[in-house]
Symmetry: C2
Subunit: 141 residues, 2 copies
DNA sequence: ACCTTTGGGTTACCAAAAGTAACTATTGGC
DNA sequence: GCCAATAGTTACTTTTGGTAACCCAAAGGT
């Protein structure tokens, strides 16, 4: 007979993870995590949220300059997606040349907290990950 | 002259966001967030981490059954990626039929915390997002 | 009068990634 | 001698991500 010893903290984290992955049968066949990750889990959404979260509001090209490497089209697509999910607002001013301001909604602000956690994790553990990758690359060669 | 009033908490969050998006010039042209999100920001990685985090360890097909909708190939690809980044371990037992166990590493466990935050956010705000989407869909029609 | 610039896009096109279906290896049991 | 079970791989298709070029309207230069 095997006895597994799990400390209290680990058990708690496991329970939390289990809870999240549980699919509620009343939702339309997808758990919330799936659903939300599909939107914000792409290459640019979280970065856009971080940049918009770092200030009051940003114009289209301001944002474009700050998010290094993003193309005009991808920024448009990303922002429209975030807007559709109620995470950012898009305010068009009827001027020439046009002016469009983007800002986080309250919902977007609330997401920012969780995203910052993830960002901090990334910053802290980047060296460990770089090392792991190195090991893998060397092992493959 | 315009005066902007920002409460202390908002200012703190903004500073945190700003810090994360800052690109350290000594890294190879990418900030850590970019780098890590490229790996874990795909459709299946975070879900795999959540499932692996909800228990001790899982076999390939156990995991496959739990992650609804994932294909054999995508699970392989995802797990190999996570393994390469040192987030999961892959243990092969020389048996027939073969047995392969996947488990989170310590690094993976540490990420689990941040992921659970995000998952909780998703669970809490899923209704608000669904509502925003509905509004958008109706407005477009 | 004409050309350029400016800001925020869109369209047409192409490459890369995700996804699907069928195939493989191994061997104990029938 | 054939089938089932596990953990994949390979070949192929579809979807998505990404690039480059174009559009609009008015202001400013020459």
């Amino acid at each position: 007979m095997e006895v597994t010893v799990v400390d209290a903290q680990t058990a708690e984290v496991r329970a939390a993870a289990k809870k999240i992955i549980t699919v509620p049968p009343d939702s339309f066949a997808l758990c919330p995590v799936r659903d939300i990750l599909d939107r914000i889990g792409d290459k640019w959404s979280l970065l856009s949220i971080l940049h918009l979260g770092s200030t009051e509001s940003l114009r289209f090209n301001e944002l474009r300059k700050r998010i290094d490497g993003i193309s005009q089209r991808m920024l448009t697509v990303t922002l429209r997606g975030l807007e559709a999910d109620g995470l950012v607002t898009r305010t068009v001013y009827a001027e020439v040349p046009p002016r469009v301001e983007y800002a986080l909604t309250e919902l977007g602000q609330s997401l920012l907290g969780a995203v910052i956690q993830l960002g901090n994790w990334a910053a802290v553990h980047a060296p460990a990950i770089a090392e792991a990758r190195q090991r893998m690359t060397l092992a493959a060669a």
